[in-house]
């Protein structure tokens, strides 16, 4: 077991180090969520005037939850890009040769993604507070929201690792991020699901991200809804994506 943790720690440290010392990697992962927050919470705040829009903490808080969870997911996605880059450069092959427990590699990347998101999530939260976000949830409920973000980050990085390890090329980037991006935006991003109309309403109802988003918004507002459903969904997704990532690693091992 200690060999597993040694590998995970080494890969995580490298992942975080590479992120922190390379502005080209670090800046976009921080700037993008910030601009989503600015564009949505600032530019679209009039949406809260739509009849039957009811979210007591206000539109900034409403959008913060989406951006917070989105940044968590994209923390995982961006780490997937790094995995793909490691395969493209040949580093991953050397890493697999030297790692006594290769499953530690996935754990290491996942840990790296979590640390990476810790930075982004903190910046986004500070920005939202500065922008006037209202928080009605209790400390326990806010920890619940944080838990949703951590779980979202884990699911996303496992997905990203799986794709990157199956394809082993940087060109996998679009395939890593597009499904995540689309799933996120097919949830009730701008208005509550009750105000969505047409096909997007039907899709949002079936989209598992909707429950996570609604749970997050409920926790921030101090009136939790669908929390158990959200965590259960993320747990199931985590198990599926964990298996997918492990299969990806096996595929990479087989490819040599």
């Amino acid at each position: 077991m200690s060999r597993f943790f040694n590998v995970a720690r080494g890969v995580a440290w490298r992942s975080i180090h590479n992120t922190l010392v390379n502005p080209a990697i670090l800046v976009p992962s921080i700037v993008f969520p910030l601009f989503f927050l600015i564009a949505f919470a600032g530019g679209l705040s009039r949406i809260s005037d739509v009849p039957n829009f009811h979210y007591p903490p206000g539109y900034t808080s409403f959008q913060f939850v989406f951006v917070f969870l989105q940044s968590a997911a994209f923390g995982g996605v961006f780490t997937g890009f790094a995995v793909a880059r490691d395969f493209d450069s040949g580093f991953a092959r050397r890493l697999m040769l030297s790692a006594p427990r290769r499953s530690g590699i996935i754990a290491g990347y996942a840990l790296g993604a979590l640390m990476r998101w810790a930075l982004t999530g903190t910046v986004v939260t500070i920005a939202a507070v500065i922008a006037g976000m209202n928080v009605y949830g209790s400390p326990a409920q806010l920890i619940g929201l944080l838990g949703l973000g951590i779980a979202m980050n884990a699911v996303a990085v496992l997905w990203a690792c799986g794709v990157a390890m199956f394809l082993r090329t940087e060109q996998a980037g679009a395939l890593i991020q597009m499904p995540v991006f689309i799933l996120l935006f097919l949830a009730p991003v701008y208005v509550p699901i009750t105000l969505l109309e047409g096909w997007i309403h039907d899709v949002a109802r079936l989209n598992p991200v909707t429950a996570v988003l609604e749970a997050g918004r409920g926790l921030l507002a101090g009136s939790p809804v669908k929390v158990a459903l959200a965590f259960s969904g993320l747990l199931v997704a985590g198990l599926i994506m964990g298996t997918f990532a492990r299969l990806g690693l096996a595929s990479a091992e087989k490819a040599g």
């Binding site: 601009f35 530019g43 949406i47 701008y190």
Partner: protein, 275 residues
Amino acid sequence: MAVDVATGAASIRAPRPTASLLEQTLAVGRRSVVRTSRQRALLIFPMVFPLILFAINGSALSAATKIPKFPTDNYRDFLIAMPFIQGAMFVSITAGVDLARDIESGFMNRLAMTPLRGEALLVGQLGGALVLGVIQSIVYLLVGLATGVTLVSGVGGALVLLILSVLISFGFASLGGLLALRFGTGEAVQGIFPLLFVTLFLSSSSLPRNLIKADWFREVATYNPVSYLLESIRSLVITGWDAQALILGFGFATVLLVVSLAFSQAAMRSRLARR
């Protein structure tokens, strides 16, 4: 004396020393178009991504039409301007990365040994991006019409919209070319892309400026030229023939094109320094 210039996938016959500027431009332009058309896989994402956002946001934000004084009751009519500008921004990256690749691979240095004029090389290099801009504009217009967008300005408006859209695409392509010439690497050009996207976010892309609630955001959107590019396209869809919106749209697109080309020409001169 004709010189064959091998360029990997494509090869062109370099124009004679006596070839006119137009001939030189067309020769380089042909290579650029061929190269762009051979990268189909890389071209699909930039074309499809704005359409995906259009499809999603067109429905997800439809509740916005219930805001008092919203200019239309179909949010897609309002949103259709966005794919044109987003697509144009992607064109800028395609153009910039292609040009940067020529710089990185040394192709530009080899061209410096030919009698090719810098202006021909610059405009010709953007040929592929121009073709891409035309294709994108037509696709976006057709998708818009197919999804229920109605152009109040009619067929004539559709034609003006296409011309304006191509002009905007060429303007952004020139900007991409300028970035490539200044920085010399594709990575740097791609690194600038988020900044371009930010200008789209901080504009009247999702709501009319008069309905933006946050004062600071409305101010930023008012000073952001991208707002006027969007509003000129939007005017043809929603308002009809709005001379002011069209003048501002064509004006800003022309300024972007002229300024980018002017700076690019100076940068090209130093890249093609014949020592």
